[in-house]
């Protein structure tokens, strides 16, 4: 019996839908005869049979989506197998041969030519067009698979220059240098051999890579660095951060808040709160409560931008940034304005715990209308947070510290913290941002609401 597997159709493809069996169980099939059809994003592919024989069983029905290398059916080779070229038989049963074998050539004998070489050669001969992009820029864009719509042009008439692409790339890939100067010299790295470790690929699922520049630097000094693929989460975070920076005009305003009243209240209630509810009382729900009240007064801070429209959200869905071991996630407290300090603290504790144990439901991480990030819990005094798109503002809360403060011309010891509001200057003007932050500050400094 020969297992027939869902083939690997490319590096970025981890699964496929079996759209149609072209044979029924019991049907005879020739080697290389189309056996079934699969569908991946926008591509339908006929998969030929790896051997001659009889289709013995179908394990994956039409319409099912399964991961690559999943066994979809079995062929009993009977008389047919011996007719197949001897060389092909062992290759077929091994999971490495996830791709349909080429018609006549034995699989290992026909390695795909390194992709980078013909592409860069191609660029050297077809340069007659003098459009808004220089050949160098076109080449860089192609080699790094860049969406030109995401690149800001700073040249004449908004033309995209080499420097713009380098800026864009450095934003995307930290410090990876782009070897523009000698595209021919460094031997192109062996293309990440598809058949080598399909199982790993399924897990890490790298997106279409830009293989030309990272490995080139690797070749130089192998010991001086370590190359690790980013986790999926890291890639998503990176993408989101760049997207946000490219979308919003980030401006941060910082207000200093006297937290003494809240600190005293918290000190007084801490023990009883823990005893009654089973979790501690922190400063964060106070800031959240104050922010929510200020959002009601300044609804534009609870808005988002769509094209040239401003979308005002009726609900206040408060995102709370949670640091994970190796990343960041912003779960959302829905209708945060309907919760008191106890309710907010409960939600914060619950969401943070489930974020860290990866048990958030998808709807709990979307739909936020405003976010708070509490970098103070790591000791930071103030920072300039990045807006969580498509929101238009984020409030950063610094550590609460005791410090000498002048009060009525006398020096007093007060608990203070910095509130840093990053806002999207496309929509929100500085004056309004400061009014909003001053409102948050005023609520905190003159706290009156009962906690328990």
């Amino acid at each position: 019996m020969i297992d027939v597997e869902m083939p690997q159709m490319g590096e970025s493809i981890v699964e496929g839908t079996l759209t149609k069996w072209l044979k029924k169980p019991g049907d005879k099939v020739e080697r290389d005869e189309p056996l079934f059809e699969i569908s991946t994003d926008k591509v339908d592919t006929e998969i030929p049979s790896p051997v001659a024989g009889t289709l013995a069983e179908i394990l994956v029905e039409e319409g099912k989506t399964v991961g690559i290398n999943t066994v979809v059916g079995r062929i009993s080779d009977g008389a047919g197998a011996s007719a197949a070229p001897a060389a092909s038989a062992p290759v077929v049963s091994a999971p490495v041969n996830a791709q349909p074998p080429p018609a006549a050539t034995p699989a290992p004998a026909a390695p795909a030519p390194p992709a980078a070489a013909p592409m860069s050669d191609g660029a050297t001969i077809v340069e007659e067009t003098a459009g808004p992009l220089s050949p160098l820029v076109r080449k860089m864009a192609r080699e790094n698979n860049i969406d030109l719509s995401k690149v800001k042009g700073t040249g004449i008439g908004g033309r995209i220059t080499k420097i713009d692409l380098e800026t864009y790339l450095s934003g995307q890939t930290a410090v990876a240098p782009v070897p523009v100067a000698q595209p021919v010299a460094p031997p192109p790295p062996p293309p990440p051999a598809q058949p080598k470790a399909p199982a790993q690929m399924a897990v890490s699922a790298p997106p279409p890579p830009a293989p030309s520049y990272v490995p080139a630097t690797m070749a130089g000094a192998p010991a001086a660095m370590r190359v690790e693929p980013m986790s999926m989460m890291r890639q998503k975070i990176a993408e989101h951060m760049v997207f946000s920076m490219n979308t919003s005009v980030h401006v941060t305003t910082v207000h200093k808040v006297d937290m003494t009243k809240v600190a005293k209240l918290r000190d007084k209630l801490k023990g009883a709160f823990q005893a009654q509810y089973g979790f501690g009382l922190t400063f964060l729900p106070f800031t959240a409560r104050a922010a929510v009240a200020a959002l009601r007064e300044f609804p534009i801070v609870n808005a988002s931008i769509e094209g040239t429209n401003v979308i005002y959200h009726r609900d206040i869905n408060l995102g709370i940034a949670v640091a994970l071991e190796n990343g960041l996630i912003v779960p959302v407290i829905r209708n945060a304005d309907e919760k008191n300090i106890v309710g907010l603290q409960r939600s914060i504790v619950d969401l943070a715990a489930r974020a860290r144990s990866r048990q958030l439901r998808p709807e709990e991480v979307g739909g936020g209308t405003f976010s708070i990030t509490n970098f103070g819990s790591f000791g930071s005094i103030f920072a300039t947070p990045i807006i969580n798109q498509p929101q238009v503002a984020i409030l950063g809360v610094g550590a609460v510290q005791k410090e000498p403060v002048v009060v009525d011309d006398a020096i007093a010891i007060r608990s203070t913290a910095y509130l840093a509001l990053t806002f999207d200057h496309r929509l929100i003007d500085g004056a309004l941002a400061d009014q909003f932050t001053a409102k948050v500050k005023s609520i905190l400094e003159n706290w009156t609401e009962e906690v328990m």
Binding site: M9, I13, L148
Partner: protein, 222 residues
Amino acid sequence: MPSVVEELAACELIHLGSMRYAEAMELQHSLVEQRKRGEIPDQLLIVEHPHVVTMGRNGHSENLLASPELLDRAGIEFHHTDRGGDVTYHGPGQIVGYPIVDLRDWKRDVGAYLRALEQMLIEALAEFGILAGRKQGATGVWVDGAKVAAMGVHISRWVTSHGFALNVDPDLDYFRYIVPCGLRQPVTSMRALGCSAGREEVTAAIAGSFARVFGRAIMEKR
């Protein structure tokens, strides 16, 4: 540098002019078979179809907003077809491109192939000052959230058929009969984006960027 040209694999560019969908399908099938047998080099067919709505193998009929009868009365043909993707419309004012490429000579990677088709169109559009891009999870070429080119591909033994459709200056009203690719997102055209480039210029730009992206030497057949 003629020596470089000689090293590049050839791709024949064939201008089919206006051709009915079924006829172009038949031609593709025959060329795919010839390509599989190694009798011909890679091909890039450029065609314009009379009004036609086609439904991919995993298309959803709810994305077809008009009955086949209504389409018929509106003078629009309807075909089921064996490309990937959902439902789409072709018509006058579109450049439809069918690359018949043996991916074994390029990269055995259908994802990379789609990205390369996108890149080719992004670069061709850039020559007319249109900054187009990709959209995560939505194959095709997009400008400001509107789709300017759609894609759908069939692969048999690593030989590609079907391909892309770029809206140069079609009557965008015809898209109202369908939900393009099952996505409720706007469709646009080069003309709608303020570009008055003609079909020939755009075809030349596509051929040029195809050559660069796929590393092929284009041989034009008229």
